[in-house]
Symmetry: C2
Subunit: 240 residues, 2 copies
Amino acid sequence: MSYELYYWPGIQGRGEFIRLALEQAGAEYIDVAREPKHGGMKAMLRLLEDETAVQQPFAPPFLRDGEQVIAQTGAILLYLGSRLGLAPEDETGRLWTHQLELTAIDFLDEIHDTHHPIAGSLYYEDQKPEAAQRAGDFREQRLPKYLDYFEAVLAANPDGDAHLVGATLSYADLTLFQLQAGLRYAFPKAMQRIGADYPLSAALHDRVAKLPRIAAYLASDRRLPFCEDGIFRHYPELDG
Amino acid sequence: MSYELYYWPGIQGRGEFIRLALEQAGAEYIDVAREPKHGGMKAMLRLLEDETAVQQPFAPPFLRDGEQVIAQTGAILLYLGSRLGLAPEDETGRLWTHQLELTAIDFLDEIHDTHHPIAGSLYYEDQKPEAAQRAGDFREQRLPKYLDYFEAVLAANPDGDAHLVGATLSYADLTLFQLQAGLRYAFPKAMQRIGADYPLSAALHDRVAKLPRIAAYLASDRRLPFCEDGIFRHYPELDG
């Protein structure tokens, strides 16, 4: 049976971290909200808004696998990791991969808040001065702090610096690829300025992009483009 | 062997969610950074700043259990849940408890950002107008959205509305207790205004507070008070 992924259509967003794992594993899945013949947005909203449902999700993305519905990007990848062969089998390794994913998601939240520091319910245009302030702090403090961390994790991996965890690809590597790609899109100047400080992360990005299934996915129309409705937004005034 | 908890001394913060689980389980633990004889802050910073360490944490809290070091509040509770008898034993139940915890942590992040919308590296006093804006949106939109969600989860629990998961106490219940307590401290007016809409969550708070081990903990000096250095801060100008 196919996995069913539920996420807002039109943006990569948090759903993209799930898509990359499903694509790399060659798993069958339906991207429900983007496919009207499978119910489209209506099917997603029905699941999202049913307050009487047992194990109701708080927000997309969520995944349906038969009877089970799982929300929260980190929890979905924890669930899929062992099933798709994208995480170690032992508890210590699985937990470490998950911990890295949760840290990456914290990073992602901070990336989002560079253009929405005041409220997700307002437009960027309604919080531009505040966004400029927050983005400045992000570029100077938070961006290098997170990038330093993931670079150090690669360098310290006893199984080699080609992967975050162990000697084979994990969903955490796919996530770091997506973070690198998104940051280069959103903050090209900042990443140009400091990118050379992160050779292991850059090399991982390039290797992931060339994995046959990922390369095919990136070239397909299943891969949505980065855009200014997503999490990674290129606003030149926030870059520098 | 005792668990070792590492977290900033002086505030409840994210460490409190771990402490509540350890206390309720009657587990032996050392709150390392608060106990100079166990190494204090120095011991914490040594683990935090060692970039060559395998499985280095990004930030506190982190937990040491023998050789294993686990960071990220959600991952720590996932690890402890089964060991302390505070989560279901089956995968579906464990994942659902974890998913609720991750949603609670998202809520907590938004609570934090009401007083720090621009940068964690600045003081509240340097971002007061922005905080007032963000807190207004939080009170009107996000606070009821999250509270609605947890109330609905309690109401939909097929094993009864006394717990978020199953028929017994889980760490997610302890987390919802702490969120309720913190919100009443930080936003007394807002919670007074809407608190009656959440009778199940309020009842859970009161029951947890009376659990013998939790009551003893709350009355001890191990329980730090809420304060304006923590995540839940009472700034009257942000309440309403």
